[in-house]
């Protein structure tokens, strides 16, 4: 009896540290990127950004000596494929942090992340639903929501022309409609006249009716949502033909150099909002760091897009959350990662963004940029604008 007791005790003593070591698994990030499909332009850049930040962090010693593991899969920008990839990565690697590819995927997985998986989660989305800590405590976005981006643009308009006539021009999709209701409310509060709401399909070029309607309603500012390229280009080009003297604005996904290239000499007519600095703003310390890394690792790459910047920032926050959660009792768990995220205040990002404070699981700050047809770049025309 005594021998058996000793045997059990020695087994516990031998296996105890082993089981603790097993429980303290490596910090792991898994991501589902839209590497193919119509959002591949963001997925390819985004996956590179995540890999770069993880490599940088591991080169700098990881999380208290533990290397960060990073695995990803292609979600093709289809919800069912993305969810399958999420489940596959979960089953294979059991990560503490996940990154998703779309609004649809985020909405579908939201309840399960809260009740079952309990992982810190972000995605290629700026939907308000991912920035609602009461409903979805594990979800966050490292950017302003679409509604907050509308707020930044409307604040800029109020300053430039109080009481201006506004038009919302959006696609009849989830992406297009997301901030519209909030935009209507903000217009009322800010004393702006929302005189028109135009709808056109993504990629549509037959938009004469909408342009003439905006002209009849004397629109001063037209804000696009739900597009990356056309019909934005078509509207701006046709507005010249039909004598519509409005200023054209767009949110994050349409504030990219490709749009300026398509606009050509009309690039000066376009104003966009973004939460991040651009790759060519090389005087900023963080941009300098990204440029040096890119030059060293990918000598052929000449430009990094805003999608890269978004994922770069998100992954920096992931790494910071790992560092903070690792010091908490219980170590790196989903709940500790959420606490770590919400403890981030005035976190310096070397100019990639102003110092970050997480508020309601988003970062409600943006800057207004104007297109420049000569340099084919966006030039900042406002300071960082915060939404309360």
């Amino acid at each position: 009896m005594k021998k058996a007791g000793l045997l059990i005790l020695s087994l516990i003593l031998c296996l105890g540290p082993f089981s603790i070591a097993m429980a303290q698994k490596s910090p792991t990030i898994c991501a589902v990127h839209p590497f193919t499909g119509r959002f591949a332009f963001a997925g390819i850049e985004g996956s590179a950004a995540m890999q770069d930040v993880v490599d940088m962090a591991n080169e700098a010693g990881g999380i208290n000596g533990k290397k960060i593991q990073y695995y990803w899969a292609d979600g093709e920008y289809k919800d069912d494929v993305g969810i399958a990839a999420f489940k596959r990565l979960q089953a294979q690697y059991n990560p503490q942090i996940m990154f998703g590819q779309s609004t649809g995927m985020t909405k579908a997985l939201g309840p399960e992340i809260k009740d079952r998986y309990k992982v810190l989660y972000s995605a290629y989305t700026m939907t308000s639903e991912a920035a609602n800590p009461k409903e979805n405590p594990y979800l966050f976005i490292a950017a302003p929501t679409y509604a907050e981006q509308f707020g930044v643009l409307l604040k800029y308009i109020v300053k430039e022309k109080p009481g201006a006539n506004i038009a919302f021009f959006y696609s009849d999709t989830e992406f297009g409609r997301e901030p519209i209701a909030a935009g209507r409310e903000m217009c009322k509060k800010m004393g702006l006249n929302l005189v028109a709401e135009e709808i056109a399909p993504v990629g549509g070029v037959d938009i004469t009716t909408q342009v003439l309607d905006m002209k009849a309603k004397k629109v001063d500012y037209c804000i696009f949502q739900g597009y990356v390229s056309n019909p934005i280009v078509a509207v701006i080009k046709q507005s010249k033909d039909y004598g519509l003297n409005a200023k054209f604005m767009g949110t994050f996904w349409s504030t990219e150099l490709q749009l300026l290239r398509e606009l050509g000499p009309l690039a000066d007519e376009y104003i966009g909002v973004s939460a991040y600095s651009f790759y060519y703003q090389e005087d900023l310390p963080m941009i300098k760091k990204i440029r040096e890394w890119t030059k060293k690792k990918y000598p052929k790459v000449e430009y990094r897009s805003q999608s890269y910047m978004e994922n770069y920032l998100t992954t920096i926050l992931f790494v910071e959350c790992f560092k903070r959660a690792d010091k908490m009792s219980g170590g790196i768990t989903g709940d500790n990662l959420v606490k770590a995220l919400q403890s981030i205040k005035n976190f310096d990002l070397g100019g990639l963004m102003p110092p970050v404070t997480i508020k309601d699981n988003s970062i409600p700050v943006g800057r207004v940029y104007r297109g420049n047809s000569k340099t084919v770049r966006f030039d900042p025309i406002s300071d960082w604008i915060r939404m309360e």
């Binding site: 489940k87 596959r88 649809g104 909405k107 997301e178």
Partner: protein
């Protein structure tokens, strides 16, 4: 040793289980289906559930297009009608999940009846366009009838319950999917060998001749639409209860094409073809995903080239099947079966 396939009457010829071997293999397959959730991980069970929903939806479309010859491009809309009906009944009116499934099927069937009316006057490509209207009409309704569908925000659906047990995980839901898939396959297999099934085939082969023989085209064409939509509705209701959310973007035009591809690749006018097509269209892309992940991990930095290549392979596989066996996977299966039925004395 068997050297021929001899039957004495039509009843024997129409039997579902034609021999003891069929019964044996089917029993073995059922044992596998029952054991599967105990050996599979959450990912594999997720895929199994998705295959189950696809099987139900594909059988519905095959009854309409493969058996009755009525081409429909509105299948995704009917799946959507079922999905939204179930979601609204559960969340807004407190109806139990179990009751919401048949009700979702019935509402979809009603929608199918209405959309099927043009089939009495037009056929072929014209009917295609008429059913395509359903896709746009219902797509618009899902987005804009916000008081019921909650528009683009969508509806979050609680998991199904029996007593205090909640069907939360993929493993729990697998049993529900399996139950409805077996029920759906069983009903369809029996339907196609009934008077109604034969009427469907007669309409497909030559509707005028069928009418002269006394088949009521009005009744049978609309019945085919209703049954097909019922299956679609049940599939949609199960799908969104599994996902726990329904949003309009789930039911886009590509979903119609995907279902048509399932029944064409699987085999038009064949229940087992619908099953093969559903498995092929769901499983093969996943296998290619897993393979491309493996290749990617062994060739760092080559992801940009390898990952898009999987879609080329998938397209190539579909085209190859259609070139080498235009009658689909079901025909390949039949050939294999025939070979082994009389093996080693087949001639």
């Amino acid at each position: 040793m068997r050297c021929g396939d001899y039957k004495e009457n039509y009843i024997k010829d129409e039997e579902i289980f034609q021999s003891r071997f069929v019964k044996f293999w089917l029993a073995l397959f059922f044992i596998f289906l029952i054991v599967f959730p105990f050996i599979a991980n959450a990912y594999m069970l997720y895929i199994a559930n998705m295959i189950g929903f696809a099987v139900i939806g594909a059988i519905g479309l095959n009854l309409l297009t493969g058996f009755t010859g009525q081409i429909s491009l509105g299948h995704a809309a009917f799946i959507g009608v079922g999905a939204y009906t179930s979601a609204i009944l559960i969340t807004k009116y407190g109806v139990s999940f179990w009751l919401s499934i048949p009700l979702a099927g019935l509402v979809s069937a009603l929608a199918g009846l209405v959309i099927g009316i043009p089939s009495l006057r037009v056929k072929g490509l014209y009917l295609c366009i008429a059913t395509l209207a359903a896709q746009f009409i219902f797509g618009f309704v899902f987005v804009h009838w916000e008081s019921m569908t909650k528009g683009i925000t969508g509806i979050h659906i609680p998991p199904p319950v029996i007593g205090s047990f909640q069907f939360v995980t993929e493993k729990d839901f697998y049993w529900i999917t399996l139950f409805f898939a077996v029920l759906g396959v069983g009903y369809a297999r029996n339907l196609v060998r009934s008077r109604m099934g034969r009427a469907f085939v007669a309409i497909r082969d030559r509707d005028l001749a069928a009418e002269i023989m006394g088949i009521d085209l009005f009744r049978y064409k609309l019945t085919a639409f209703a049954i097909s939509s019922f299956y679609a509705g049940v599939s949609g209701a199960l799908w969104v209860s599994f996902l726990k959310v329904v949003i309009p973007e789930h039911f886009n035009f590509m979903l119609c094409i995907q279902y048509l591809a399932m029944i064409i690749v699987g085999g038009l006018g064949s229940v087992i073809g619908s099953i093969f097509g559903a498995i092929f269209m769901t499983l093969v892309p996943e296998i290619l995903n897993v393979l491309s992940d493996v290749v990617k991990s062994y060739t760092p930095g080559m992801g940009k080239l390898i990952i898009p290549f999987k879609q080329v392979v998938f397209g190539f596989l579909i085209v190859s099947f259609l070139i080498f066996e235009p009658r689909g996977l079901a025909e390949i299966w039949n050939r294999i079966k025939k070979f082994f039925t009389l093996w080693p004395f087949s001639y």
